[in-house]
């Protein structure tokens, strides 16, 4: 009998420990989210928010091409960025983990993510200056005679993608590297013993084993990229708008919270879909 009361007491104590975090998340994350979902089903008429349940905002989203294009632009850019970032980061993580001497690895890794500590806003702006017609890249390329006319790489989608890829290469190098060094060298030895060449070893052994790390990084990239406002706003030249920019327009210029909420829910559902697609690789585990 005493054991149950002891267990009860223990359990009550445990609830006490977990409660603050749960309550915080409930109060400042779940409640706002539910409120926003409700808001998205109301609408703004003139200066007031009308509390009548309807799907108008969502219907408007699918019927107005400018809004729908926001989502497709976001998806196109995010997918391009995710793929490019993985392709660029993997070799770097690989070289650091496999080719760089052990004692220099930490240094090489820290170096690879150092620009992470420049302010995000300033970094985007810096890219704008680097990529512009009179910027460093165009000046250098024209200087050595590689191109005659400056490249159109600022204030368009290319610039947005470059700005994003720069950030996410750093992030992905970190996640992929931490995955690579956890691999036991025995796998590689075993594969070699079985007669596999370097490429086969990589393709059949290393890559599948590092896939969870890649997918975690890729998912993180997807979430952060599709929800970002700064980079497309500074680098995109407003030649096309992504979903977060359209959301900010709703609040900034129209104070149309219901529409902004509806667009946010759509953004959220998109991320959820991406999560479902890579769910089987995403896990948090205890050591």
């Amino acid at each position: 009998m005493t054991t149950t009361t002891l267990e009860d007491r223990e359990r009550r104590k445990a609830w006490g420990f977990v409660a603050p975090a749960l309550l915080w998340t409930l109060a400042f994350f779940v409640v706002p989210f539910v409120y926003m979902a409700a808001l998205s089903l109301w609408s703004r008429q003139g200066r007031d928010i009308v509390h009548v349940w309807n799907l108008d905002n969502y219907l408007r989203f699918f019927s107005e091409s400018a809004l729908l294009r926001g989502l497709t632009n976001s998806l196109e850019i995010t997918i391009t960025v995710t793929i490019l970032s993985v392709l660029l980061a993997y070799p770097l993580a690989w070289i650091i983990a496999e080719r760089v001497p052990k004692r220099l690895q930490r240094m090489a890794l820290i170096l690879a993510i150092l620009p992470f500590w420049t302010s995000y806003v300033v970094r985007s702006y810096s890219w704008l200056l680097v990529l512009s017609k009179g910027g460093v890249i165009n000046q250098a390329l024209m200087g050595i005679g590689l191109i005659a006319e400056p490249l159109e790489i600022a204030s368009n989608r290319t610039a947005t993608v470059i700005g994003f890829v720069h950030f996410f290469v750093m992030l992905l190098t970190l996640t992929i590297y931490s995955n690579l060094i956890q691999l036991s060298p025995n796998y590689r030895r075993a594969a070699a013993d079985l007669g596999a060449n370097a490429f086969q070893t990589f393709w059949h052994v290393i890559l599948p084993l590092t896939l969870p790390g890649i997918m975690t990084g890729a998912f993180l990239t997807f979430v952060l990229c599709i929800g970002d406002y700064i980079t497309p706003q500074i680098l995109g030249g407003n030649n096309e708008l992504v979903l977060p920019q359209i959301i900010m327009l709703q609040i900034g210029r129209r104070a149309d919270f219901p529409m902004a909420a509806a667009l946010s829910i759509i953004l959220m559902l998109t991320v959820t879909a991406a999560y479902v697609l890579c769910a089987r690789w995403l896990r948090i585990e205890r050591a």
């Binding site: 200066r47 704008l128 200056l129 009179g134 407003n238």
Partner: protein
């Protein structure tokens, strides 16, 4: 050993945090406070600090861009949150109608010293009551790099949708003056802009988008002009080029023969201000010749002061950059922003968003 060191480090860390917090709290502890909802030119310490020192007051500034954003902030606020606000002169009535502006005694304001065109009683008053006063103005027109384009081409507004400078044009990202410019280019008045004009305007917007390199906010526009990314900025004017005059003498601006759009900003006292006397004092300071000169050359952007007496406090170079002596001609050939109904405003915004997504 290590443990105690860590403990000491942690203690020191917390102490410094607390000290910093106390410092911040101490700073905010000025005798009186004034909450102002303003445009970025009012955040220049050179403008605000003299008022703060003279009246022993702390001015809290929140900046916004575009009337929609300002109204959105007001809607999210409680009565008494704000003491003064700066707003587009043409939009003063929108805020009067919200019932948030307070009346100002007309005799406390230097209206007689203002450029007559900028008194704008239709906009700043209602039913004989004064709710706001115009404090600064300028033009949304065509800025360009005179070493790269033919200045003669800039005298005709139709250049903004022609193919001649395709890919070398930036469009300023604010739908109201831009649509106003298009209306002028079509040979009509901004004041007459109605639903019926929208199809023609949308067609021209599409052509402008096709001919342009980017649609950008102030800093991207400046960057683009300064780095040679583009050679023409539609919607620009002295407020873009005046502060760059020293470093980029090749930048110029003009008012084309069809005219251009004139912007004007007003300042007003809020009805529920907790300190209406101080708020009025602030307005009087901004409208005083000294305040006007500082506002005209504020760090965010330059613009003409409305008070003609400000001229005494501006030096020759500043006056030249502002084109003080050309104002009579400009004033004659420029029109105010269009003033759309809520319905038309929504249509204009949609047209603008559509244009960007093309």
């Amino acid at each position: 050993m290590t443990r105690s060191f860590e403990g000491a480090a942690a203690r020191r860390f917390f102490m410094s945090t607390i000290a910093l917090g106390a410092l911040a709290a101490g700073q905010a502890n000025a005798t009186e406070e004034l909450n102002a909802l303003v445009w970025c030119d009012h955040t220049d310490p050179a403008l605000i600090e003299p008022f703060e020192t003279a009246n022993d007051v702390k001015v809290n500034l929140k900046e916004y861009e575009g009337t929609g954003a300002g109204i959105s902030i007001l809607e999210q606020s409680q009565p008494g949150d704000w003491d003064v606000m700066v707003i587009d002169a043409v939009d003063v009535h929108r805020v009067i109608d919200m019932g948030v502006l307070g009346e100002m005694p007309a005799n406390a304001l230097p209206s007689a010293d203002l450029f007559p065109e900028l008194v704008m009683n239709d906009n700043n008053t209602k039913d004989g009551k004064t709710y706001a006063i115009t404090e600064k103005f300028g033009y949304n027109t065509i800025s360009y790099d005179k070493t790269k384009v033919d200045p003669k081409d800039m005298e005709d507004l139709s250049v903004i949708w022609s193919d001649k400078y395709k890919g070398r044009i930036a469009l300023y990202d604010y739908y109201l003056p831009m649509i106003g410019l298009v209306q002028l280019g079509l040979g009509k008045k901004t004041a007459d802009l109605s639903d019926a004009d929208m199809p023609a305007i949308e067609e021209k917007l599409a052509a402008m988008k096709a001919a342009s390199k980017q649609v950008s906010d102030v800093v991207s526009s400046q960057t683009a002009l300064a780095t040679g990314e583009v050679d023409i900025l539609v919607g620009g004017g002295e407020w873009i080029t005046a502060s760059l005059a020293k470093d980029k003498p090749n930048l110029d601006w003009t008012v084309p023969k069809q005219g251009a759009v004139r912007w004007a900003q007003s300042i007003a006292v809020m009805k529920d201000s907790k300190n209406p006397d101080l708020a009025l004092k602030f307005v009087q300071y901004i409208l005083s010749p000294e305040g006007q000169a500082r506002l005209a050359t504020s760090s965010c952007y330059w613009g003409m002061p409305t008070n003609q007496k400000a001229g005494e406090h501006l030096d020759g170079e500043q006056k030249k950059a502002l084109r003080w002596d050309d104002q009579a001609g400009y004033l004659k050939n420029t029109q105010l922003y269009p003033i759309p109904s809520a319905e038309l405003d929504k249509k204009m915004q949609d047209a603008w968003t559509n244009m960007m997504q093309q």
